[in-house]
């Protein structure tokens, strides 16, 4: 039923938060950083919902160029402005899990607890949004 006992050909594991385009050139990176700074300008006049969207775009762009910490920072800001369960949410949970795994490998209990707690908070966000809690 679940493929028990079958011989499986090993497939390469999917890494959900890896950038979609495998190779990002320096030019691409510069272009994306320019986009980010343009987006940051838009924040000044944006309302809460727009800010959440802009931060989500900024976070996803940082993620594409492999700047995980800045991606986390932007995606957290997005959820602080408005809780949503879009790509930003999914990527942030994945990033926390990546950081959690790194902390476990480094035997860094303090960071480990921080990211486990952040993952707990993400579960709460998911519950809240699904139940319509503002």
């Amino acid at each position: 039923m679940f493929g028990f006992g079958k011989k499986k050909t090993k497939k390469p594991k999917q890494e959900s938060i890896e950038p979609e385009t495998a190779i990002i050139t320096e030019e691409d990176k510069e272009e994306m950083l320019r986009t980010i700074s343009m987006r940051e300008q838009e924040l000044i006049q944006a309302d809460e919902e727009e800010k959440a969207k802009i931060y989500e775009v900024i976070g996803m762009t940082y993620l594409k160029i492999g700047e995980d910490d800045q991606a986390i920072d932007a995606l957290e800001k997005s959820i602080q402005h408005k809780k949503t369960l879009g790509d930003g949410y999914k990527s942030l949970l994945s990033l926390y899990n990546k950081k959690r795994a790194e902390a476990a490998r480094m035997n860094d209990d303090k960071s480990l607890q921080v990211y486990l707690e952040k993952m707990d908070q993400m579960m709460q966000v998911s519950k809240d949004v699904t139940r319509g809690v503002r």
């Binding site: 938060i17 949410y89 999914k90 899990n97 795994a101 480990l112 486990l116 319509g132």
Partner: protein, 429 residues
């Protein structure tokens, strides 16, 4: 010697002390300061006492409900609540110490299994582990196990479930999330796989499969915004209607000077208050223990896959959550009326289980069988998660539990494993 005997017989037998000592162990292993160890241990002990207080409130309300239901409908009406089962087992049955030690044993065995086998799942939902520890302890005790055997068997079985359930769900979770790095840690997985199976048989197939995600549905379930309000929404009408059926003459014998319908209303609120207090206790109780032990688990199994609570899947299929909740509720209501026909107790629907288990099951049903799979699978799931707890009612009654049964079907499956396999085997030898 008499001092040691005094400590063993009068202090260590107290469940609250055992639980505080488990928290203390976790905090010491985390190399916390003396102040943090003391405050953490005391908070854990306080949590246990709050939980016990909540349980007493629930028992008071359920005892009343049992009486009016029996009078009004001439059958037993069972409120499904794993919290109430946990509270009564910890308090009224005096199994608190064994449950706490089994809880610890599940963590330890989970780490051992994940460390030394290819199943690298670490179950992170602390509350669910507490419910599993409750059920393995209660049914292990009923099967005749005592002392260290009760704890080790319960710990091992609980840990096997803590690894096996995420492992069974993972092929689905991989497809839902498009990733293999996070797992599902929710003890309702047997129900999810059941729904997926039904959806496979009765659902849409191949190119005809249409996802519920393509439909336009109301985005949120606003009436479920508050956990306690959503429990109240069910319990208040349930108590008042039951009291009305029991009649003024009978119900007034229980309500003293208060009008019998008003008394029923207040008792329904009391039930919610009990759940509120009990869950506050659980949060306090687990607040120190869970971070300590899951930190240890993650460091001992650095390549672990964290098994997270069911909302981890909600963002990937939000419409299926709504369809799953509605269809599971329908299935629960059908089962409520059908099961008594077959001589089983009437199991009243639980809104929270229908939401969390039903919603997640809906994702599985939609994945496997599209819209039709989600609908037919969801109704079947609602029936299934009402039937399994109904099978435990006789045992719960004989053990002294008041008008309640368990909810999360994996914990019920573990209990049935004891009742149908381990218990008879122990009696045979």
């Amino acid at each position: 010697m008499s001092v040691i005997n005094f400590i063993i017989e009068n202090i260590l037998t107290q469940a609250s002390v055992t639980i505080a000592l488990i928290a203390m162990l976790g905090l010491i292993l985390q190399k916390k300061s003396a102040g943090q160890v003391i405050s953490g241990s005391l908070k854990t002990m306080l949590g246990f006492m709050v939980l016990v207080a909540g349980s007493s409130i629930i028992v008071g309300s359920l005892t009343y409900f049992g009486k009016i239901f029996a009078e009004g409908f001439h059958m037993q009406g069972i409120v499904p609540s794993i919290e109430a089962i946990n509270g009564q087992a910890m308090n009224e049955l005096g199994l608190g110490r064994d449950i706490a030690l089994t809880f610890l044993a599940i963590f330890v065995f989970n780490i051992i299994i994940a460390r030394f086998t290819k199943w690298k799942y670490i179950f992170l939902t602390g509350q669910a582990i507490l419910w599993m520890a409750t059920m393995t302890t209660v049914f292990g005790y009923f099967a005749g196990l005592r002392g260290i055997t009760l704890i080790l068997v319960g710990g091992f079985i609980g840990a096997v479930f803590a690894v096996a359930m995420p492992a069974i769900a993972q092929p689905f979770v991989r497809k839902i999330t498009g990733s293999d790095d996070i797992a599902l840690g929710h003890f309702c997985t047997v129900g999810y796989v059941f729904e997926a199976g039904v959806a496979k048989v009765f659902g849409e197939k191949g190119d005809k499969k249409k996802s519920v995600e393509d439909l336009k549905l109301p985005a949120q379930l606003e009436f479920l915004q508050d956990t306690y309000l959503s429990v109240m929404v069910i319990m208040v009408p349930l108590y008042i209607i039951t009291a009305a059926f029991a009649g003024a003459e009978f119900a007034s014998t229980l309500s003293g000077d208060t009008h019998y319908l008003m008394f029923a209303f207040l008792q329904a609120i009391q039930f919610v208050v009990g759940v509120y207090v009990l869950l506050s206790g659980v949060r306090l109780l687990l607040g120190e223990i869970v971070p300590a032990f899951r930190g240890i688990a993650m460091r001992l199994v650095p390549n672990a896959k964290p098994a997270l609570d069911c909302p981890v899947l909600f963002p990937f299929s939000p419409n299926a959550v709504i369809v799953g909740f509605i269809t599971t509720t329908i299935g629960c209501v059908i089962a409520m009326f059908v099961l008594p026909v077959f001589g089983l107790a009437m199991i009243l629907p639980g809104m929270l289980t229908a939401f969390f288990a039903g919603g997640t099951a809906g994702i599985f049903g939609n994945l496997v069988g599209g819209r039709r799979g989600a609908v037919i699978g969801g109704i079947a799931h609602g029936f299934f998660i009402t039937l399994l707890p109904a099978l435990l009612v006789t045992t719960f009654n004989s053990m002294g539990f008041v008008n309640t049964t368990a909810t999360d079907v994996d914990t019920v499956t573990a209990a049935l494993l004891y009742a149908w396999l381990i218990g008879p085997l122990l009696k045979a030898f």
